[in-house]
Amino acid sequence: MARFVVRRIGSAILVMFATSVLTFLIFQAIPSGDPAFRLAGKYSTPAQVESIRREWGFDKPIYVQYVKTMEKIFDGSVISYTQQLNVDQTVIHDLPATLSVTIGGAVIWLLVSVLFGVLSAIRAGRYLDRVLTVLAFIGLSMPAFFLGDIALYYLGYKAKIFPLGDYVPLTQNPGAWFSHLLLPWMTLAVLYIGIYSRILRSSLLDTLGEDYVRTARAKGISERRVLIRHALRNSMIPLISLWGLDFASLLGGGTILIEEVFNINGVGKYVGDSIGRLDVPPILVITVFAAFAVVALSAIVDILYAALDPRIRLSS
């Protein structure tokens, strides 16, 4: 198990390096003006622009620029073109909001999908399964900017059950934090519940046909135990790996629509605004951060996965 973990972390570092190089090159290719000039800001002297050019290595070959940019990302001295604010600090400042949206949403969608998926599978082909199937497809076809706006209008503005967007930090007021996030969570979860409950349904139906499930029934244990201990545990494996990846991509700016709709100042909204202004440093930092999140979470998922399925520990 220890060797497995070490090997997995090694390959994660490799993947992150490759992603950062690729992202850097993509933004080199996008025409966005002279970076030194944009970094220096509107009211700079030519001397200031020149000193930034030297400091960042914009007059040097591209690999030097890459190394210098990465250094600046990791020592936290990158500033954005338009606001001239420290990017790393902005991301760190915005992260709790995004984490709150993502974690809450991910927990809700995982729990509800497991419930719906199991109900669908054990009632496969019957009335309940059909209702849940239709609901899943409705959920799947509800983009956040549509469902979120509808929910805000009817449940927030008209019915006044929920606040109209904004984010309140957990440390400031836990009650307000919760009530402000409830609607974004549910909006986010609806989309994924559709996908996840369908995946679990088919995975569980496959597992229920396995010989070892028949063996479990032949032991005389309760049907509930057969379902949970023998069938569900094996069916959860594909769901967990998917969950890790979705969770990570949401953290790395995937909440862009949700944050925009509910006016939450998180990483998603930051990257969305930066894209609108072609503000390269934040986009670069958040892309690298997103890659980091995906790689780190998929490594965590793989380790979890191995804990769930002993056979994976042996094969590389």
């Binding site: 070892y212 028949r214 063996t215 029934r217 032949a218 032991k219 005389g220 244990i221 201990r229």
Partner: protein, 361 residues
């Protein structure tokens, strides 16, 4: 569980007390293509300490018979009729609660494929513990100690360490031993072994069969051995039931079936065993044709389309009855006269199904 001492070496002459009594068992499944009659009107008994083999080709209904006794074929599309009593307790139509009590504790089952019959993500010791604790109020550690003991008893070396291993860390033969240990864990009165050696190589097959024989002698459990391999049953079975297309076509003692078989299908099965005591012929005799679809079995005798000895009467369904004077326990479904049967079943000096169309060379 039974408490009383098991019978000593079973004497094939004396009928042991009845443990399982199946009468008129029929199982059919509704499918998109139509109704599949998997088992039709099966009646047989298994006595204490008796090994009864159910033999037939794939799709003859033998596995479904075993699974139905455990209530494992229940589904909205299954129709199950008839009766199966375990020591007087009715199993067909029993409640889930009753079936749960019976499963594992009174009837245990060993499945065909040990590679897929154990949960891959649970340690084998825990899988045995789970069954013990499903039926007895016993602490986890005590149950685990018993699981280790059982694993030792079925010949798994270093059982204490191995109980912490996962199924994929075992060979096929060892996994089947784990399955047997699990089946033994609550001292069942009846063991249903569904092709227990089919997925194993020949030397392991012999060991597993030996294990089953030992088990029968030690515990007095009755064994219903489902197999397609007549060679496997010759060493261990007391009685044999031959199934074809969902029906029992012949049943009797081991000697009845091997030395005086009455049904042409049984002859075909016997004729297609490879034997070391026979001059090797160029071809291994096979029964011509394919088993019928159970959606639409032939009218009358189901074996008629493949039987070289079929005649007019065979379009009527033959009853399963004793047709030999003096052997009431030897029953079959064939209209031919016993004297005619004895004459025509000899092919090349051994029992077989006379036909020019032998397939496998």
């Amino acid at each position: 569980m039974t408490g009383s001492a098991p019978p000593p070496d079973v004497d094939p002459g004396a009928a042991p007390p009845t443990l399982l009594e199946v009468s008129g068992l029929s199982v059919s499944f509704r499918t998109e293509q139509g109704v599949v009659h998997a088992v039709e009107d099966a009646s047989f008994t298994v006595g204490r300490g008796e090994v009864v083999a159910v033999v037939g080709e794939s799709g003859s209904g033998k596995s479904v018979t075993g699974l139905t006794l455990m209530g494992l074929t229940q589904s909205p599309n299954a129709t199950i009729a008839g009766s199966a009593k375990l020591s007087g307790r009715e199993l067909i139509g029993a409640s889930q609660a009753t079936l749960r009590e019976v499963r594992g504790a009174e009837i245990a089952m060993i499945f065909q494929d040990p590679m897929s019959s154990l949960n891959p993500v649970v340690r084998v010791g825990e899988q045995i513990v789970e069954q013990i604790r499903a039926h007895e109020e016993i602490a986890h550690d005590a149950a685990l100690a018993r699981a280790v003991e059982l694993m030792e008893r079925v010949g798994i070396p270093r059982a204490r360490d191995r109980s912490r291993a996962f199924p994929h860390e075992f060979s096929g033969g060892m996994r089947q031993r784990v399955m047997i240990a699990m089946a033994l864990s609550c001292s069942p009165r009846l063991l249903i072994a569904d092709e227990p050696t089919t997925a194993l190589d020949v030397t392991i097959q012999a060991q597993i069969m030996e294990e089953l024989g030992l088990l029968r002698r030690e515990t007095g459990a009755g064994i219903l051995l489902v197999t397609h391999d007549l060679g496997v049953v010759a060493d261990i079975a007391d009685r044999i039931i031959v199934m074809y297309a969902g029906q029992i076509v012949e049943q009797g003692s081991l000697d009845d079936l091997f030395y005086d078989p009455q049904h042409p299908y049984t002859w075909g099965l016997l004729g297609s065993i490879t034997r070391v005591d026979r001059v090797r012929s160029a071809r291994l005799p096979a029964i011509p044709g394919q088993p019928p679809s159970l959606l639409n079995a032939p009218a009358g005798c189901h074996f008629r389309p493949r039987c070289p000895h079929a005649f007019d009467a065979c379009t009527q369904p033959p009853a399963l009855e004793a047709r030999l004077p003096g052997s009431p326990a030897h029953r079959d479904r064939c209209f031919l006269e016993p004297s005619v049967k004895r004459r025509i079943r000899t092919v090349d000096g051994a029992i077989g199904l006379a036909t020019g169309e032998t397939v496998i060379s």
